[in-house]
């Protein structure tokens, strides 16, 4: 083989990316030709230097930073995807059509009721709506239960990945807003004081106001242990005529344990840094480790604060209460109110009732649609698989 050809192939000889025959030929040439041999050694020594380059290591907080960013991106992706899926949009249109139909029919109902004498139908509606409320809450707790089941299957993987306590609890925050009409707001307030004592809760704040027609309104923010939330709601309902009730529950289990495992990781880091600090001898090392240590400790503090807030939120539920006296304190305004203001109030509560009635129908319809949407989804998935 000629020197010029060896020069062309020498780099691939070095990488062992030649045929056996070529490898042999070049090996033979290098044994004889000092010029090519020198060339080869130079190239090889540079390659070795590059190979031995000390690799850099990602800083320990990299994963945490990335995790936060990924969570953000996941949110973005999900909102984008839901726009993209044509099936979902079709369902939305269908739902909108059905909803508008129901609004129309409810409108008719409203009309009908107006023609009827309001007195009787009104109480009927309000008991109906009370049933509504309770069914609504039972539905949401049912959903939480199914979520729990669903997540239980994931929980194993979750535990393994994150090193969670095996006996971890779901973290759910609950709150309610209730407004009640009663003969005496003061009486109700006293009863609430008793309830909060009975259940080891407390009144976070309360305020009082009177309307121009001398009707008293009392606002109370009640904190109650989460375990007794449902019981307390039930006893509050019996205090008077429930006008509005809204119950929210928010499952923060995933976020909660995520932050908890971050704290654990950071604490391990902190320990390691403390050890390093003991070993460090020169000042610039010490300063560097201390810097890092500070960073880690601040991060731990802020996570711990978050956990504290969440612990408070999940152990104690908040109930926002409003009591409205139906009976004004003077007789003059009573005449006035029974004739006119009562009607306004009735109208207000009626529209609310209609609204909840409407919600109920939307819910029922979505239950009706559920099997069809599951079927449609399965067909869609099947089609996608088939296409693959």
């Amino acid at each position: 083989m000629q020197c010029s050809k060896v020069k062309k192939l020498i780099n691939f000889y070095m990488d062992k990316e030649l045929s056996k025959r070529q490898m042999e030929e070049i090996k033979g040439h290098l044994a004889l030709c000092t010029e090519c041999k020198n060339d080869y050694y130079e190239l090889e020594s540079i390659k070795k230097l590059l190979q031995d380059m000390t690799p850099v290591e990602l800083p320990s907080n990299f994963n945490d930073m990335l995790h936060a960013k990924l969570l953000e991106e996941k949110k973005n992706l999900e909102s984008r995807r839901s726009y993209k899926k044509p099936i979902k949009i079709k369902f939305r249109i269908a739902a909108a059509v059905i909803a508008s139909l129901f609004i129309l029919s409810l409108g008719f109902k409203l009309f009908e009721n107006k023609i009827n004498n309001v007195g009787v139908t009104e109480t009927a509606l309000s008991t109906k709506s009370a049933v509504n409320y309770s069914s609504k809450t039972s539905i949401s707790s049912g959903k939480a239960a199914s979520d729990l089941k669903k997540d239980a299957s994931q929980a194993n993987a979750f535990d393994l990945n994150r090193g969670l306590d095996p006996d971890y609890k779901r973290k759910i925050t609950k709150d309610a807003t209730i407004s009640i009409e009663t003969d005496s707001a003061d009486e109700c307030y006293n009863k609430i004081l008793n309830i909060s004592k009975q259940y080891n809760g407390y009144i976070e704040s309360s305020s009082e106001s009177s309307t121009s027609d001398n009707k008293k309104t009392i606002n109370v923010v009640l904190k109650i242990p989460s375990n007794d939330f449902e019981d307390v709601i039930a006893s509050i309902k019996s205090l008077g005529d429930v006008k509005t009730i809204r119950i929210n529950s928010n499952d923060i289990t995933e976020q909660y344990y995520d932050v908890e495992s971050r704290i654990k990781n950071l604490e391990i880091q902190e320990e390691k840094l403390q050890e390093l600090l003991k070993k460090a001898s020169n000042i610039s090392d010490i300063l560097q480790v201390e810097d890092k240590l500070n960073e880690v400790m601040t991060q731990i503090d802020s996570y711990k604060n978050q956990i504290k807030i969440w612990d408070n939120m999940t152990s104690m539920s908040t109930i926002n209460l409003t009591f409205v006296s139906t009976k004004p304190q003077t007789k003059i305004s009573k005449i006035f109110s029974t004739s006119f203001l009562n009607d306004i109030l009735n109208a207000g509560s009626k529209s609310l009732n209609i609204f909840f009635e409407f919600l109920k129908y939307v819910f029922i319809i979505s239950i009706y649609l559920l099997p069809f949407s599951i079927l449609a989804y399965l067909i869609y998935v099947g089609y996608k698989l088939f296409k693959k």
């Binding site: 062309k8 780099n11 691939f12 990488d15 990316e17 020198n38 050694y41 130079e42 190239l43 090889e44 020594s45 540079i46 390659k47 070795k48 230097l49 590059l50 190979q51 380059m53 000390t54 690799p55 850099v56 290591e57 990602l58 800083p59 990299f62 994963n63 930073m65 990335l66 995790h67 960013k69 990924l70 969570l71 991106e73 996941k74 992706l77 999900e78 993987a157 979750f158 990945n161 994150r162």
Partner: protein, 185 residues
């Protein structure tokens, strides 16, 4: 769970599965990017950018190539974009001639610094193949996929890049002798 299963879960958006898979590669990615851009802070940002891009575009990964190669490809593209934008804004060439006296060349740190500086002076394509081949130890095939070229191009670039680097290093007094002696040991 193996990588394939984890990737399927990750494609559905599962962050933990994704993190699980990339944990095997993220340091390599960081290294390549660091060698390409030569500034640690920039490399950190770009590593994050690379991994987030991978997460967002994961559905586009069809498994035709290896996931590792696919990640490297994103990393190289992200870095090249960065270098292109940065170019013209600042042209930083550190003065290293002070070190270039034969007695200092025995110092490992200085040797490395010289070689990195010379590597950084190479054309982008040359620098990239050398980083992927000699520092990262990837195969010609992988490099072809990562840089979106064919094996022929990769081969000629490697050959030319090494020869240019060698010639430039030879211009530094005493350098190649010292290194050459080491190579023979």
């Amino acid at each position: 769970m193996d990588e394939k299963q984890l990737l399927l879960k990750a494609q559905e958006g599962d962050i933990e599965s994704f993190e699980n898979v990339i944990s095997n590669y993220q340091n390599y990615i960081y290294n390549v990017i660091y060698r390409l851009v030569d500034v640690k802070e920039d490399a950190l940002d770009l590593t994050q950018e690379t991994l987030i891009k991978a997460y967002i575009n994961l559905k586009k990964f069809k498994g035709n190539s290896e996931f590792k190669t696919w990640l490297y490809r994103i990393a190289v593209n992200v870095s090249h974009d960065f270098i292109r934008k940065k170019k013209g804004v600042e042209e930083h060439l550190e003065e290293i001639s002070d070190f270039r006296t034969p007695e200092n060349i025995f110092d490992d740190k200085v040797t490395r610094k010289i070689i990195i500086d010379e590597l950084n002076k190479l054309k982008r394509e040359y620098k990239t193949v050398l980083i992927l081949r000699d520092i990262e130890g990837l195969t010609y095939n992988e490099i072809a996929e990562i840089t979106n070229t064919n094996i022929g191009t990769v081969k000629s670039r490697i050959s030319r890049a090494r020869n240019i680097l060698k010639e430039n290093l030879k211009k530094i007094p005493g350098f190649i002798n010292v290194v050459g002696e080491r190579g023979q040991i």
